[in-house]
Subunit: 245 residues, 6 copies
């Protein structure tokens, strides 16, 4: 089984970290294929970065599927481009936020997502609500620029821990969800530190991708995620025109 992990941030070190987290949980016989978007922002921080990252992401999904991937993971906690990718691909595609909150819901009644910047907090809060977890999950921002997570000396870990402690103290959180793909390497040590489940979205998503493949499930092509209709695409985006099937 081949699971494609696409990093829609164009920063390669983040892809490597995600791939490592993926391989640490992948089942026997699962091959992790990691791809970095070739076009878009170095890091996704807020709605604008997220939207502009989508074409590069979709290209990697398309190419990865053509190269034989069985399922794909979008390695950004904002789940950017997830619905478009599901419409595009025949293989199943999963996001980090959706799979992380699902996973948290299996081990805790109440939990808190700790993300990076304030500008992402409400975006994720809206996602969490859309996924049906609004009554169970809170979202906090630790005031960490995404790329600081790539830099050990940045103090990012300290800020993250302070926010986790607030979640445990003030939110009554029973588990913590790490709200950024760039935090994937921290889950295990934070779980040991705090004695509550700490969920990393990359790991959660990889296991869901595997689960779907094992169950023989693919995205429904009935209604919401029907394949794009053949039509004229103009200008810079003409490379994205759906091909007649």
């Amino acid at each position: 089984m081949r699971i494609l992990i696409v990093n829609p941030n164009t920063t390669v070190s983040m892809t490597e970290k995600a791939a490592e987290a993926a391989r640490a949980v992948a089942g026997h016989g699962t091959e992790i294929i990691a791809a970095t978007s070739k076009s878009g922002p170095a890091s996704i921080e807020g709605h604008y970065d997220g939207a502009v990252a989508v074409p590069g992401l979709l290209m990697e999904i398309r190419d990865g599927e053509a190269a034989g991937a069985d399922a794909a993971v979008i390695a950004c906690f904002d789940d950017t481009g997830l619905e478009a990718a599901r419409a595009l691909a025949d293989i199943p595609v999963v996001g980090l936020c959706e799979t992380a909150v699902m996973t948290a819901a299996l081990v805790a009644q109440r939990f808190t997502v700790v993300t990076t910047l304030e500008r992402s907090r409400i975006l994720i809060e809206n996602l969490v609500r859309h996924y049906g977890m609004g009554a169970r999950a809170k979202v906090r921002a630790a005031d960490i620029p995404v790329l600081e997570l790539e830099d050990e000396g940045s103090g990012a870990l300290h800020k993250l821990m302070r926010e986790i402690e607030r979640a445990l103290q003030d939110d009554g959180a029973e588990a913590i969800v790490l709200g950024c793909a760039g935090m994937a390497d921290l889950a295990r040590s934070l779980q040991r530190e705090y004695g509550v489940p700490v969920i990393d979205g990359v790991a959660a998503a990889v296991k869901q991708a595997e689960a779907l493949v094992a169950q023989g499930l693919r995205t429904s092509k009935r209604s919401s995620y029907a394949a794009p209709l053949p039509k004229i695409y103009t200008g810079a985006m003409s490379a994205f025109a759906p091909r007649p099937s």
Copy 2:
């Protein structure tokens, strides 16, 4: 006051129809500037088309703001790219779905949105819920490809009317929202036909854009829609890199 209407579908006849609908309701002293995206799908039908249309749309928003627009309307009922556009622009930006359902809520307790294709129905249902109108509005699809709305002989009007009749009969709808920018020219005659308010999103959005400008309101730059941070954008999307302010 200059209101920019951006059609993220690359079909010019649709832009013209929207501009006409806009001018029909615009206040004295409002200039309507209509722009058609130069890059993306001829029509937006579903999640994939919607995502790929965003870069072309954002380019028009950026250029229109630079050219002096006071507010912008995204002329697609899926409200595609709305949040990214709000983060990008300093001027206010509004969508058709959000403003149409708000407007409907001022004249009716229960209403039905009639859109084009089944693949757009649930997308819009999710939007309607996100806008807080899930308990008041139903969404129906009339099985009309978007571009058929540009073709008078296509039978599209007949299909649309049949679905409006079902909404009145079966949903207890007190008003109808036309769920596609391409239906903008039909609102008045359908309203006369059925004797209930019929809301066109283009008209609704133009009036909201005017209203925001008149009140001196702009998108809050605190948190969700903060301006994109300066950073490296790679590849085909490097043209979208935010400029340091």
Copy 3:
């Protein structure tokens, strides 16, 4: 176009302030006609005042419509009598709370309404939820009797500003809605002070009333707001008996 603004508080200075706020945003060609209820409480503070204010309010709506108004605004943030007025009138009628939260939702993801007394706070919280904004808006009371807003030396502005600061600090508010018609004159200066959108309900409602008229939209008379049926009205309220149409 003539927009009728009815103040259901019987305090004339409040009406004048609302009329001024209305005229400041009204479009070219819009005439603002302000009316003060002749019967009811000097200020509306809580459910009882609100209910008793309704007959006086309805009388003004009826007379204003007969005198040729094209739309009406109920100038009280509790939206008291709004549904009855919609059933009574053929012209569209809008409320301050409903239009202010709608307007806020176009420029911010999360916002806080700051109202006067604690007794109005939950009333407004319930309204906000009914309008579908419960997940996006918080409501705070600044402990200001309504009529203190008419008195510059009362310290009301200071209390209001303290509560706005708490909303920004503790609620993560991206915009502020002023939750009383009597605050209409403060919106612009508070917006300058805090650098976030500050929405005044009177201005918001006037622009919505104009927007409905421009779009040719009237309250649906199908179901919820059907015209009152002719029937016997007894006693003091017999003046309110619907006339056969």
Copy 4:
């Protein structure tokens, strides 16, 4: 214990029917005092009638409390004036809709309210949602003018039964709530006919009023239902000015 039942419809035969239903369920030692509003519509059908009925209703609540009632019931399924009455009175006040749906929820998971006219249907649907029962209850209208319920030969019973049958068949209703005070005399026979619980709001409300008195509970005067503040009331409504306590 004295329970005051106020009929805000000015039709005396309806009051008598409600009083009879009340006495049929009242506990040993409970005296039922029935009052008919002296001012307002003969029957309450929709938002306008409901609003105009409130002053007459409040007058009866005030007089009944002064005369020694221990609790009050507002005998109209729209719960019109309920919040104002709670603010006014020191004794507890309950409504028919709120107590009927609560009672239904104790004997069934899903139930349907059958009311009179379509114009009341959505009004009640909104109430049911406000009371937290939106996910458990449906609302249907049987197309019966309220006063037809006073006329045995009107065919009203036949229409009501047809709608109950649809509720059982199509809604999966496990119980039926009669959605008009004027149906109070029909509950027992309909329950026998259909073999499911049939709840009459008058009976439900009387038992809740008794229950509150027996528990020594009165409306909280903290916040929402604080006593009206002393202030000037102008014009026809000056009789309603709160007296300083």
Copy 5:
């Protein structure tokens, strides 16, 4: 009328306290029959205790009904076994949490439930939401083991009062619900102390049980609570096999 109160905690002193609270509010002619479960935990603290208490509880419901009870109350605030008891019995069965929050909703817009241990807090929060009161009620835990409520010198009352004060101060609570059957004796004095309604679940449930009987209402046997089907029950639980009717 005979109301059966079953204490699913096996601690007899708690049953006695509940019976006393029940008798204090019971109507003239109501006989309170109190039964203590013969099998299960001494106190119910959390999901595990609650589940294991159910068989003992069901046995008492069955025996009590056979002995002629007209309605039953499950005297545990977690409403454990409530749905199973409703399916089993022909007589109506009510729970403490459901009836207490309903009762609170008749005298206050916002209220707080104060329960014992943190492990019960979210359990009750989920119940409250299931009963449709999620938007009106908060839940707090006072960190009191259930059996400490049986011991006057334990300091439990002090902890409870501190939490009530926080509810009034921080939650804007207008009423307090005591979230444990073992607090039944404290309601009246706490109500005097704080001047807001204080609701005890035992009293609330008894009055609801009486109300259902007086109205001639029983649990609907249509769908959710249909009588258990005759079938083989194996092992230790074979005593619970439904008997063919």
Copy 6:
């Protein structure tokens, strides 16, 4: 990795079918251990059966954990006893309904659960809502007694297919969830038949159990699922007394 599957129905053929479905999707290196409850109903149909099945289920969870299971699945779509099992066990425990609807949500926007009897329909509808999927999923009953699923000649498959067809036609379902453990063997062929994803809860739950173990996640013992406190358990249930840790 050893995954324990506990069938709380005491029917062994159903356990075998579930074990087969589990093995068909289990990862390389996962051992499936299937256990049948020794005490309780032959099939779980409704609230009463579900409650009485819990002690037998908990015994198997306890014994399975002691024997070295790494995670447990409760093989009943009602998720009976799930919260109690989570409090009891240190290993993660998952239910069929919760994992099946989560899985469906990864491949479809809207889906329908098809269960057996009407009496289970609303029970599952409430579960689905509790899991946050109320807006995305409908629930239908195919009128099939559970044990008919064990009997090929019973016509159960025909009834199930008819209801799936209604879900596709009338609900706009994009995927189907089989709402009973006894349907586990039908998923693949029904998926082929209808061309939409068909999710079996047993398979979904096994993959989630594996996923949790692979991620090193266990049920949070903070708050909701804290281990049962040591205390006296009386009578027949004394075998369930928590042992001091």
